[in-house]
Amino acid sequence: MPRANFLGRPKMPGRSVADRTKDFDEVPLGLSPEQAIEEAQRCLQCRKPKCVKGCPVEIDIPAFIGLLAEGKLDQAIAKIKEKNSLPAICGRVCPQETQCEQECILGKKGEPVAIGYLERFLADYEREQGVKPPPSVSSQGKKVAVIGSGPAGLTCAGDLAKMGYAVTIFEALHAPGGVLVYGIPEFRLPKSIVLQEVDYVKSLGVELELSVVVGKTITLDDLRDEGFAAFFVGTGAGLPSFLNLPGENLNGIYSANEFLTRSNLMRAYRFPEYDTPIKIGRRVAVIGGGNVAMDSARTAIRLGAEEVCLVYRRTKKEMPARVEEVERAEEEGVNCIILTNPVRYQGDENGWITGIECIQMELGEPDESGRRRPIPIPGSEFVIPIDTVVVAIGQGPNPVFLDSVPGLKLNRWGYIESDPETGATSIPGVFAGGDIVTGAATVISAMGAGKKSARAIARYLQNSE
């Protein structure tokens, strides 16, 4: 007998704190088939489903859940893949609680359907079975260049390939995936899963060229000469911000990008088997309160730090990180030092960090972000002794590509100005989406932008015939 709808969602099986903090393996283990089907049966199959509106990539959520509830697993994953080429990634890193699940009617009285868990379950099921190559489509005979192989670029490329366009992705780094490989840690998103999703996009016919920096190795004009008729720019934010405080270039202070890139992309946690080293002190401070700060803190614990603290200038309530991520970090021993802002770094005679001088803050009136503005309390300065610092306060627009395209209109923050519905930029045929347009945001919003641009690029190419 099916469970009554108002009952709670299943608990995601996961690894214990003691076990998981010893290595970089994934923490949540995924639902069992029984759990997944039972959870799918809780779905009310609303006639006017609200959840779909909460999904940036427009997955037909009730349809795939309905198929899953009937045990039709192959059809269920096929339904997801009509709209989303990267379900194993989305099922792991999407903030479903503020998207599809937030809209779920069941959430009004009890717990919403665990849509994210179900997506992950189906993607993992499919991977275990062996992903079937998609049917081939007739060629449109036009070439599109996608710049950047992160979530926006992969989605745009995959969708265009499904429509029959010849797509080449150009990636600056030596591995595809963008932030999915250099930023998000293995324990939250295994790299083998990213690679498999990239392989799926390649199986749609997408070409991938690594170690090509568009703007340096090759320009947009060169690509035009090579016959590319349209472009999607998904280069990400990719220029780490620092606090610009005295002593910030002391040894032992990392940007979150560097810290995570060393650990994730370069696998420094397996040094010296892998050649890239990483320095981890006994006491580590991560500055910031977003998901990247949580990833950095949890990485520091796994690298062997004895004490890891988060230094954040507002309170936990205002932290931009997912609640789930803050909880996991705290479970693993991360100590949140709130209402605290760094003022300067202290170092020793050899140029190594020894401490952060901080000032205590209190919350004032809400600022333009809607969060209460932190105000320093005069005379409240104190020092946190520290060996390693990770600055995780966000990113700015990376200039490498932008500087190479004269005439590309930027907004007042230096990101690309583009139409939110199509991604069209000030240059005809050039579309942009993801963090290079919005500033650092989520994987799924970048994917949504890639999807919209894919449609707009197809329209553009049809009209330019």
């Binding site: 030596h174 340096k216 780490p240 320095k279 490498v400």
Partner: protein
């Protein structure tokens, strides 16, 4: 993947490789660098472009064997492949006629000074070059440097070749007697620091090419940050060439030492592994 077309041993510690990288060669300009990786588990190594040939589609790199990665690179042979090779990165040197310029190359820095001297010569500058090394056997490219210079001076620390002493003493003599419009220096941090201190005294504009530790080389990580004129700059995207009078060389030197322990450990373990493999083959 790029193929090594030519390999030359320049000094006991310094090797040259010409690699087939048509796209990089097509866009390369003097002053820029590449990032390479030897294998799947390798680190990303930044190296200044020492020469390039757009027609042949080749890029020349020169490197000193100092750690595991550069020793491994040095073991590769003609016909072998380098796993990843990306570039050209960074901003090129400004190519214009400044008038009379001095190009200073110290140690392995002789390689990156060469394309800069060549470009400045082509722009009509009168180029005086100074190259230096600890000892005669560590010098290279004297002939190459002669062809792109109007005057060439050589110094060795131990006096085994050319003038005994540092490049700075020759530079001081030149600055004393001539009106110099620009000095360009590439070499060890200490050398670039000493050159910059000296030229500051003569108020001669000075460019240096920095070589901090990098990871991606495209502005993404901030590992290569340096203080220039009191501001934080990323060497990989804002440089690598900066005004020598503005650079905080002491900070740069401290930052280059971040991974000394790890570099030592990696090299020792690699040497041990190699020795074991060799004895294994020897006893078979």
């Amino acid at each position: 993947m790029v193929t090594i077309l030519q390999k030359k041993v320049l000094t006991p510690q310094t090797k040259l490789m010409v690699v087939a990288a048509p796209r990089v060669a097509k866009k390369a300009q003097p002053g820029q660098f590449v990032v390479l990786r030897i294998d799947q588990k390798g680190e990303r190594i930044p190296l200044t472009i020492a020469d390039f040939d757009r027609e042949q589609g080749t890029v020349t790199i020169v490197f000193q064997e100092v750690g595991k990665s550069t020793f491994m690179l040095g073991e590769l042979k003609e016909g072998d492949q380098i796993f990843d090779f990306v570039g050209p990165l960074g901003k090129p040197i400004e190519e214009k006629n400044f008038g009379q310029v001095v190009c200073v190359g110290g140690g392995v820095g002789i390689a990156p000074i060469y394309p800069k001297a060549q470009a400045l010569k082509e722009q009509g500058n009168r180029v005086i070059s100074i190259i230096g090394a600890r000892s005669a056997n560590l010098l290279f490219w004297e002939e190459e440097m002669k062809t792109v210079s109007d005057e060439l001076w050589v110094a060795t620390d131990d006096g085994s070749y050319g003038e005994r002493g540092f490049v700075t003493q020759i530079l001081e003599r030149i600055l004393e007697k001539n009106s110099i419009d620009l000095v360009v220096a590439v070499g060890p941090v200490v050398m670039m620091k000493m050159v910059s201190l000296l030229t500051k005294k003569y108020q001669t504009p000075t460019l240096v090419s920095l070589n901090p530790i990098m990871v991606d080389g495209t502005g993404m990580c901030g590992c290569c940050r340096v203080t220039v004129g009191g501001e934080c700059k990323f060497t990989c995207v804002d440089g690598p060439v900066f005004d020598g009078h503005q650079v905080d060389f002491d900070e740069l030197q401290a930052r280059q030492r971040i991974y000394l322990e790890e570099e030592k450990r990696a090299l020792e373990e690699w040497e041990l592994k190699k020795a074991e493999e060799e004895s294994h083959y020897a006893t078979r």
